[in-house]
């Protein structure tokens, strides 16, 4: 074999080895895996479907796992399994194989620790992907000490699906395991981080990726970006690329990396949209308009509109348990002349609430004192008379003045 061919072959082999090392290193770094982690996890707690107890909802043990077939009366399903006393630091990797999980539902991990056995800890998980999802619980501050019990809760996906429209479909818990960190769990973990389905959220309009109340995930963009740059550098150093070749390789790498991220985004976009199709397709606009993530607020608004029409009220001050509920109520009430009470009172210190204004409270945040006929809203106390109540909706009239 001529020397130049041999040199080229050796360079090719070195480049291939460098590529494997670079990408393994990048994936391990992205997954937060220590270098001295074992190849395979020695310590592993495995739970089969039969190990779980159905606490809420309906389920039965089938040939391939625990089959959950219905929600409980509270609109959730819950399954738990006792662990004995598992050390959290020895078993931070949760792997779960759950089949046919409907995308209209959200999956949460729940667990109890020995230091606070009465407190149930909960964290939303990425929806299961096949063949098995895996997450690193060391990113969860509550995951420490001895774990007594773990389980899963399922409910209508928050911010997208109302409990009444959850469209439950049966799914199956096949196998769950808790294990130590090891090189063998890198790919399931990264696949779950990068391809695990997450529904539309209110934050989606501002940023895709970060989700409140879920485990932080590693960045596919950073991993592919750093891996790509290092691979190009390795090619330039080992293969002796010319400037032209390096530029060509850079362009091809950039295009390939862009397409990869784009495919991932398309998959995510389509998954997000599938839920919307499930919820709204084949319905008239009148029906679709009633399917809101917070349909209880919509119903309260309809009740309030009806009452306001009966008493001829022209203006309403509204407040809910959160800014979200308050502003949704204002929007649903339109064209009624409604305003967010806490904001209005904060903007008008000492202002008087006119007697012809209704005061509507949705939820329990504003406390009414029946003896003093006063309503406590944030830092303000209003003298009021109750005039209507329906479920969580309470309506008052100012008795004399605002404060």
């Amino acid at each position: 074999m001529p020397a130049f061919r041999l040199r080229r072959m050796i360079r090719g082999v070195v480049f291939a080895i460098a590529l494997v090392a670079i990408w393994l290193g990048v994936f391990a770094l992205t997954a937060g895996l220590p270098w001295d982690a074992p190849l395979n996890s020695g310590k592993r707690l495995t739970l089969e479907g039969r190990d779980f107890l159905v606490r809420s909802g309906t389920g039965k043990l089938g040939a391939r796992g625990l089959e959950i077939s219905a929600f409980g009366a509270d609109g959730t399903a819950l399954q738990t399994a006792r662990l004995g006393r598992a050390r959290s630091e020895q078993t931070p990797i949760l792997r779960y194989r759950i089949s046919d999980f409907p995308k209209t539902l959200e999956l949460a991990l729940i667990f109890r620790r020995s230091d606070a056995p009465e407190d149930v800890q909960s964290i939303s998980l990425p929806a299961p992907i096949l063949p098995e999802a895996a997450v690193d619980l060391t990113r969860l501050p509550q995951w420490h000490g001895e774990i007594l019990e773990v389980g899963f809760a399922e409910y209508a996906a928050g911010q997208v699906v109302a409990p009444d429209n959850a469209q439950f479909a049966p799914f199956r818990i096949e196998r769950v395991s808790l294990q130590a960190r090891s090189w063998s769990e890198i790919f399931p973990r990264l696949l779950s981080d990068w391809f695990g389905y997450r529904p539309w959220a209110l934050l989606s309009i501002s940023a895709l990726g970060p989700q409140l109340e879920t485990l932080p995930t590693s960045s596919m963009t950073v991993a592919i970006g750093i891996g790509g740059v290092l691979s190009l550098l390795a090619g330039w150093l080992t293969l002796g690329w010319s400037k032209r070749r390096l530029l060509q390789a850079s362009c091809v790498t950039a295009l390939g990396a862009w397409l990869l991220l784009d495919l991932r985004w398309l998959d995510d976009f389509l998954s997000k949209h599938r839920v919307i199709e499930t919820l709204y397709a084949d319905k008239s606009w009148e029906e679709r308009a009633k399917i809101q993530p917070d349909d209880d607020t919509l119903r309260a608004a309809a009740e309030l509109s009806k009452f306001a029409a009966e008493v001829g009220a022209k203006r309403i001050l509204v407040t809910g348990d959160s800014q979200y509920t308050t502003l949704r109520l204002v929007y649903f009430l339109l064209p009624l002349n409604a305003a967010p009470m806490v904001s209005v009172l904060a903007a008008s210190p000492g202002g008087i609430v006119p007697a012809d204004t209704l005061i509507a409270v949705l939820g329990n945040d504003a406390k009414y004192d029946a003896e003093k006929h006063s309503l406590q809203v944030a830092a303000t106390t209003l003298s009021v008379v109750p005039v209507h109540e329906q479920g969580a909706l309470r309506v008052y009239r100012p008795s004399e003045s605002a404060r």
């Binding site: 940023a207 970060p210 963009t221 032209r244 679709r288 502003l327 064209p335 002349n337 202002g351």
Partner: protein, 488 residues
């Protein structure tokens, strides 16, 4: 979709295209695409203006009332276009055989990429069509006035929360965003009135049209600016594949996409003027820049930067240095206490610095600059780690660094680069030196503000790379690019 809705869509598109062609009748490569893209944006903006002028007392029939006025504008524009196009030389669409010259692999690749854009458009359409208004600011701010005016059947005044409480005898409304511009509200009313009810999917469709308009207009203008067909198509894919841009179409209701579209189109028109001195394009650029504050508060900042840079670009070299020095002093005085003095004198702040008028809220952030270095990590995360932009912000600095000589050598490249530098400096100041740093940490605003500038940034990269070539095979030390003779 009824006939009225169809008509309510067709009329603005035709009028908008006519207005664009009246301003820029020359048939350069990509002119149809540019006319379509600008037509959509200009048409929708004209819809807003006409509806606001003639339909305040009868919002339920807004489109019927505003359509004649819009049609008059369209007819006038068509007449101007006809007159101007006659005076021009024969069509200069030198693009005829370009398709045949494109290699098959490129055609196939671009075909696949554009099929993916088509898929996105269809899914975004279904998303808008199926679901009620979803994003937070859409139902808490942007659609509140429109829904109130439409369902009431007439316009009512929105006042501050305080005024609403103390002036209970009047038909005043309020909202937490009572001071927001109303341009989008009138667009909503036009489409709601054509639909015959507050049908949110039909009211929200303009957001998808806007996404399509951005892609069409950019393709057309890039072609006119000398970008080859394949590169222009590739950059259209780059723009169309950006996740957050599509999210703003699919989850319709925010004003950021409108700012991005109008700012991007204004910049393109200005670059056309810089390159070819087409006065119609300059008029378009200035008109679109003036629309920015009518869309969203930060539109004032982008409009100021754009208009100031247009003026700056028209000055001689000596005057430019003087203006730069004056601008630096002005900004220093403003941040060093001038802004507080100004706000106190217009009555938006009291002597103790308390907010008297809610409109001061947007400026209060600037009154006490304070370094928030930790926000740099959040900014980096937003740009480089989150899946909002693919690799855009990784590649933009590399592309611009590789082409800095070309950018510096051409006025029509360095002036837009200078403009974008100002805009990003303003964002950096906002997020690193004011309490807006918390919006970077929570990711609630930073990506949306960056979104507003993104199409313009892609334009700069597309133009900078329009004639970039790989070095010659024989020499490893050849320059990265072979510059063509500048048309300007």
């Amino acid at each position: 979709m009824n006939v009225a809705t169809l008509f309510a869509w067709l009329l603005p598109l035709l009028v908008g295209a006519a207005v664009y062609l009246a301003a820029s009748p020359e048939r350069l490569p990509g002119w149809r695409s540019a006319a379509g893209g600008y037509g959509i944006v200009i048409g929708l903006l004209l819809v807003s203006a006409c509806t606001a002028i003639v339909a305040r007392s009868d919002t339920a029939h807004a489109w019927l009332r505003a359509a004649p006025l819009l049609a008059i504008v369209g007819i006038g524009a068509a007449l101007v276009f006809r007159r101007r196009s006659r005076s021009l030389a024969a069509a200069r669409d030198s693009d005829g055989n370009a398709r045949a010259e494109m290699p098959r692999w490129k055609r196939t690749l671009l075909g696949v990429l554009f099929a993916s854009l088509g898929l996105r458009a269809v899914v975004a359409l279904r998303e808008i069509w199926l679901r009620p208004l979803y994003p937070w600011d859409a139902w808490s701010a942007w659609a509140v006035k429109a829904k109130a005016w439409f369902l009431l059947g007439h316009h009512v005044r929105f006042v501050s929360l305080h005024d609403w409480l103390v002036q209970s005898g009047k038909e005043y409304y309020t909202s937490i965003a009572w001071m927001y511009p109303v341009t989008l509200a009138w667009v909503d009313i036009w489409f709601a009135s054509a639909a015959g009810g507050w049908v949110e999917p039909l009211v929200n469709l303009p957001w998808l049209a806007l996404w399509i308009a951005v892609l069409l207009a950019h393709y057309g203008q890039w072609r006119a600016l000398g970008v080859s067909r394949d590169r222009a198509l590739f950059f259209v894919y780059v723009l169309g594949s950006l996740p957050l841009l599509l999210v703003h179409a699919a989850l319709a209701g925010y004003a950021d996409l409108w700012i991005a579209a109008v700012f991007g189109l204004a910049l393109l028109a200005w670059v056309r003027w810089l390159q070819s001195r087409d006065r119609g394009q300059l008029v378009l650029a200035i008109a679109l820049a003036c629309v920015l504050p009518c869309l969203k508060v930060e539109g004032w900042i982008w409009a100021s930067c754009l208009l100031a840079t247009i003026v700056f670009g028209a000055l001689s070299a000596r005057w430019r240095w003087l203006v730069l020095a004056a601008a630096a002093i002005f900004v220093g005085v403003l941040l060093g206490g001038g802004l507080r003095w100004l706000l106190e004198h217009v009555g938006w702040l009291d002597a103790a610095g308390g907010i008297v008028d809610a409109r001061a809220g947007s400026f209060v952030l600037l009154l006490q600059p304070q370094w928030h270095g930790a926000a740099a990590r959040d900014i980096a995360s937003a740009l480089f780690a989150l899946p909002n932009w693919h690799f855009l912000w990784w590649l933009v600095p590399v592309a611009l660094a590789c082409r800095w000589r070309e950018i510096g050598a051409r006025t029509w490249l360095w002036l837009p680069a200078f403009l974008l530098l100002q805009c990003f400096a303003a964002l950096a100041f906002l997020f690193l030196a004011t309490d807006a740093a918390q919006w970077a940490k929570s990711f609630t605003a930073i990506n949306r503000l960056i979104l507003q500038l993104t199409p313009a940034v892609v334009t700069l990269v597309a133009l900078a790379l329009r004639d970039a070539q790989l070095p010659a095979t024989a020499s490893g030390t050849a320059p990265v690019s072979v510059a063509r003779i500048d048309r300007a």
